[in-house]
Symmetry: C5
Subunit: 264 residues, 5 copies
């Protein structure tokens, strides 16, 4: 696991745009999960293409100068199909984006079974500043879960918590190809943390999580489900996975973040 | 956190209207959460405008001489879109308001995934009277959750509970820009308390909640979810956020409580 | 709280009708909660009036010689609109009533999110006989919840349980304007008890429940939610609250139990 | 409670048909709960009659030489209307029966909110063989719940468990008019046991369950809800209760198991 | 129970195709549960036949050189009808398969109430390599559940866990006709393990699970529900069970894995 702050394009853009000092360089992260009504798939090709195009346009517009990522959970879970991760240092930005997204044709046929709002902040267990952007790697998968710790954890002395977390981090360091992204939801949403790992090998990640079970920190976990295995791809490809139909529009640069051709 | 009773317009109006003595100056607070059926967004513009207008009229009428606030949760949660907070010292008032609201076009396309009924009362940890109105600030966000304490809390001696709460309050005092509004639901609804914080900076509130975790009082919490981050705005703007379409009617004064122009 | 058995009209009628001895004078109580499909409100006035009329007729027929009460939860909860409390010493009576009710137009647009079946019986903590009818007062509100006690409660010696309950009852006695109605569901439904309080002042009831928290008996509660604040009214008025439209038919005497004119 | 194995007609038929030895004489029991879509009640009389007729035909066919029982929960619960109990020593039989039942008109408008699959087996606390059929009495009500015991129960020595169960059984013996039917679901379904009591007097059963609370065995219960009070009747009558409309077809002998005339 | 790795056809095909060494021979297993909308059964025969044919084609295509199994839960559970188990060493394969499957007519009328993603890996309690394929037997039933262990289990020394698991395995060895298939979900899905047993005799399996309750390992189980009893059959037969109508197309060889004629 690498614990270094993101250095991605969107983070740079935010810094340029808002002129934040490192301390103020926190960002909101909003994970929105969509489950498409099976009835949508009964609509005809033209309607579905238009529905997706409107959704894509909202994402592309947001992503012009802010961080926008998409993932598909088709084939990994049954209760959600598509994950959109939007980031901004400004919460009203996220409100406005979801207002626009909600007007897209696709949103009229979608439920939102899960949603996580969080912020980055400086970790008490590290010297590094708050990250201006999370989930910036080009790795193939995102492994994501909301986490709540047992209250007795917070009753431990700070040095004790530090000691326990360092041994936890040691295990992560054995797997340098897995990146960790921790953001914080205290008081903003139901969980305390949103934990997201990026990796190319689900088997390695599975082994890592199993290796973490005997660590002392693991005993302080109150809740860490649901766990989502998300396949990283451009918004366009994630939309095309919904109905198995390639969109014909040329993808905008931002939406082709995974570098692959956008449609088969 | 400021623990002083509200001094808002609606509170004054209630005192004038009902002639309550300070001791009797308790109010009911009803938080009603609406999730709009995605199918509503498929209705045409004229229909949606009429649906919203009827909903707005009900709110404006109630708000003529009682406290009426609105918040949007679009972009912060996935299971609710709109929060209406209606307050009155008279419970039948709230019944009647919701009867009227239920007849509005919008309510015919809405579910109510959450609802909290509570009352203000004098706190055992303060000298102040019960508040005649809550959530009276002009701050940008409301952070809201229902709370239940562990039963063993109530088995502690009163002085012990007072001591624990005072150290909890100390932490809050370090953040004077966050206002707290506590109301009580014992026997009236599923939770014991409805806790609502008003602030302009979600990051500061997140930090405050995380600072409270190691306090002694935190260990006595049984439940404090779901947690809602709500964006304060006029009823009209909160309605317009539902379909991203500005209403053309001139907003009534009461519904423009946030002082901003009501439509883009 | 008054712990005396009901002396209402329906109880008398049951005794006359079935000739029960005091010991056999138990009654079944069935609380049925209705949530109306928002789509019902889109039906036209004539259809809704007919739908309500059929529902009312079923209730009036049952109430001719049995106990029938109605309550509205509009404005107090979001997951239910209407509560019907039907009582009879004969369970088949309740089955038949709900068969008839299910055929009414309104039931074709309603879900039943909650339902509690219970019976009265002689309390082990009182000398009084089982009540032949519950919820007989003319008070304005009913505060209702299903209750389950922790299993360790039943492992205490009977005299210990008696001592604990007496101190619980002492607190209730300080509030003579609140009537308690306890019925029993062991083996018949998911809860052990259905507890219903009648009162005119929700603030007083809230204070009473909060006063009960430090009592010893409170520590033995396993579950006591959901908690319903119900506004007592005639069946006709509770139906008219569903669509905010006054029915034009003359109410039958039984349905106007609250003595108020039945429609605006 | 009587703990003797069933001696019913269907059990005899199974023995004759399959030639089982007493040891092999186990049966599968499948409890299927149906909740009818309120929209079904909006269909016209002819359609509903046909829908019910197809459902009835599937049940009658199964019941020709296997155990088939029906119960109504209208008036006792809100989340289910109809319970069908099908028994066979052959699991594929139950699969086939539910395939056929699923094609009936009624099933096209029904959800299955609960379902319990279990088998009979010889009790470790009795000398008796596994029962070839359960729920064979002509009593008026069935009281049914799935049960899971706490894991620490299974850690007790066998003789200790035997001692505890015997005192539990003693309480049951005081109520000879209540028959108990226990079947087992370990590894086949979510619960460990399906416990079903047959009786004519719900008040007596309520008292029995309350008497069992202080017994030692009661402290080892992990879960025993939901609890269903079911009104025993022929399949035909249980179907007619769904829409309050008597079917005009002559009932087949098997469906009139309760001996009463099949339609009003 | 047999704890030997699978030697099935699909495993062999994978080895030939991908040239994996034994250590790398892990596979992903995706269990997808379908519940068909009752409204689907109201569609006409031709439509339903086409809907099933498209679903079957997707499964057959996947199964050409990968492991594909189907099971029916009709008659054993109420919340799911059909289980598809797809296996591949490549997670993108599973994503693509579910994209295709989602476009089939049947998927447009289906919900996915349960879904489990897991991987095989070498057991710490055995010398054997990770299995390249699970659920390869021709036995009639699959008994399946997701499992989570208590965190204190992972705090035990490895040798202690080994000792406890060996005595657990001893009990399984008494039932050689039951095959166990354990796969791992740490970090990939909500459970830690997906445990699947194959057997011909549900009664024997029930007895085995009950025998395991007093073992030491059983006390460390946190969750092991829901439990699914699944009837093994070809995809074609499992589809035909959905509407009780035999498809007329000739089944492809892969889909007739159970060797029985594919339609009545």
């Amino acid at each position: 696991m690498t614990w270094s702050p993101g250095t991605g394009r969107a983070g740079r853009m935010q810094r340029e745009r808002y002129g934040y000092s490192p301390v103020a360089d926190r960002t909101f992260a909003k994970f929105t999960f969509f489950k498409i009504d099976p009835a949508w798939r009964r609509r005809d090709d033209t309607e579905r293409a238009a529905d997706k195009r409107e959704f894509l346009a909202a994402c592309e517009d947001f992503g012009l100068d802010r961080s926008m990522r998409a993932y598909s959970t088709i084939g990994t879970r049954g209760d959600t199909d598509l994950v959109v991760l939007a980031q901004s240092p400004n919460l009203d930005d996220l409100h406005t984006f979801h207002v626009v997204l909600g007007q897209s044709g696709l949103a009229k046929w979608a439920d939102t079974p899960y949603s996580y709002l969080s912020m980055t902040k400086r970790s008490p267990y590290s010297e590094e500043a708050a990250r201006p952007e999370i989930c910036v790697s080009e790795r193939k998968y995102l492994f994501l879960y909301p986490m709540v710790k047992q209250r007795r954890w917070y009753g431990l002395p700070a040095e004790e918590r530090g000691r326990i977390m360092r041994s936890h981090i040691e295990v992560g360091r054995r797997h340098p190809d897995v990146s960790i992204n921790t953001s914080y939801s205290f008081g903003l949403d139901d969980q305390e943390f949103v934990v997201a790992f990026e990796g190319d090998d689900p088997g390695e990640f599975l082994d890592l999580v199993q290796e973490l079970r005997p660590t002392e920190s693991s005993a302080y976990t109150e809740r860490e489900t649901p766990i989502f295995t998300c396949v990283a791809m451009s918004v366009l490809k994630a939309l095309d996975a919904l109905d198995g139909t390639a969109s014909v529009s040329t993808p905008a640069p931002v939406s082709a973040a995974d570098g692959s051709p956008s449609a088969a």
